[in-house]
C-alpha cells in the first residue's frame, strides 16, 4: 500500500517538475510547479510530518506561487523570450551538468560506503504541538533570527520596487 502510494506520488512529482522545466509558457510552468509542490506535500505526509505538509501547501503552493503568477501576469511575460537564443551552447551544457549530477547522485546512492542504519521508533514528534514547544524553547534564537530575516526581505522588496522620484534609467 505504502509502496504503491509512494511510487505514484514520486512519479507525479517528478513528472510535474519535468513538465515545468519543458513548458515554454511561464504560466503553465508555474501551474506545473504548483502540482509539484502538492506532490512534495504528500511525500511529507507519507514521512509523518503533517505540519510540514500543511506549511508546504500554504507557503509554497499558496503564497510563493501566487507571487510568481502575479509577477508573470504583471509583466505580461507569459511567452517569455525563450526564442531569442543568445547563448546556443547554454542548453546542452545545462543538460550535461544536470545528467552529471544524476550520475554522481546515483553513484553515491547505489555504491554506499557504509549502510545506513534505520531506527524504527514510533513517533509523535512531527505533531504540531510538540514542534511548537520545541520551536519556542530550544530553537527560540533561530526562530527569532528567521523573523528578522523576513523583516529584512519585506523591507528589501518594498525598497527594490519603490518608484524613485527622478527617473533614474540606467
Amino acid at each position: 500500500m505504502e509502496i504503491a502510494f509512494f511510487i505514484i506520488t514520486a512519479l507525479l512529482t517528478i513528472g510535474a517538475a519535468v513538465a515545468m522545466v519543458l513548458s515554454h509558457n511561464a504560466v503553465h510552468s508555474a501551474l506545473w510547479l504548483v502540482l509539484n509542490f502538492f506532490g512534495v506535500a504528500v511525500l511529507y505526509l507519507l514521512l509523518n510530518a503533517p505540519f510540514l505538509a500543511m506549511v508546504q501547501i500554504t507557503v509554497y503552493a499558496g503564497a510563493i506561487m501566487v507571487l510568481f503568477l502575479f509577477v508573470i501576469m504583471l509583466l505580461g511575460s507569459e511567452q517569455g523570450q525563450e526564442e531569442v537564443n543568445g547563448l546556443p551552447w547554454q542548453t546542452p551544457v545545462a543538460l550535461v551538468m544536470g545528467l552529471l549530477l544524476v550520475v554522481m547522485a546515483g553513484y553515491a546512492l547505489f555504491f554506499p560506503g557504509t549502510p545506513v542504519p534505520t531506527t524504527q521508533t514510533p513517533n509523535e514528534i512531527g505533531a504540531p504541538d510538540i514542534l511548537a514547544r520545541k520551536l519556542f524553547s530550544t530553537y527560540l534564537l533561530p526562530f527569532e533570527i528567521t523573523s528578522v530575516l523576513l523583516l529584512v526581505a519585506l523591507i528589501g522588496a518594498v525598497v527594490l520596487t519603490m518608484k524613485s522620484r527622478e527617473g533614474d534609467r540606467v
Binding site: 510547479l33 510530518a49 509554497y60 510568481f68 545545462a94 533614474d168 540606467v170
Partner: protein, 108 residues
C-alpha cells in the same frame, strides 16, 4: 500501524529528491526568463527539504532538528522568492526585459 520506514528504503526517497534537484538545476541553468530561473531554484530548495525530512524520519525520529531546519529553509525560500521577484520587477522597470541574457551592464 505500518509506516513508510518499513515499506520503503531511505534510498528511494533520496532518489526522488536527487531527481527533483537535478531537474531544478537544469531548469535554472537552461532558462533565459529570470522568473523561470527562480522557479528552478525553488524546485532545488524543495528537493533539499525532502532530504532533510527523509533523514529525520529514518535516522533521528526522536530529534526535531531536521523538522525545524526544514521549516527555517522554507522561510528562507519564501524570503528569497519575495526579494528575487522584487528584483525582477526592478530590472523590468529599468531595462524593459526579463531576459537574463540582456541584463549585461556589468559585462566587461
Amino acid at each position: 500501524m505500518r509506516s513508510i520506514v518499513t515499506a520503503m528504503p531511505l534510498e528511494a526517497i533520496l532518489t526522488v529528491a536527487a531527481a527533483l534537484f537535478c531537474i531544478g538545476l537544469f531548469g535554472a541553468l537552461s532558462r533565459r526568463n529570470i522568473i523561470g530561473i527562480l522557479m528552478g531554484v525553488e524546485l532545488m530548495l524543495n528537493a533539499v527539504n525532502i532530504n532533510l525530512i527523509a533523514f529525520w524520519r529514518y535516522l533521528e525520529p526522536t530529534n526535531t532538528s531536521g523538522l525545524i531546519f526544514a521549516i527555517i529553509a522554507i522561510t528562507v525560500a519564501a524570503a528569497e522568492a519575495a526579494v528575487g521577484l522584487a528584483m525582477v520587477i526592478a530590472v523590468y522597470r529599468t531595462r524593459l526585459t526579463i531576459n537574463a541574457d540582456e541584463v549585461d551592464t556589468l559585462r566587461g
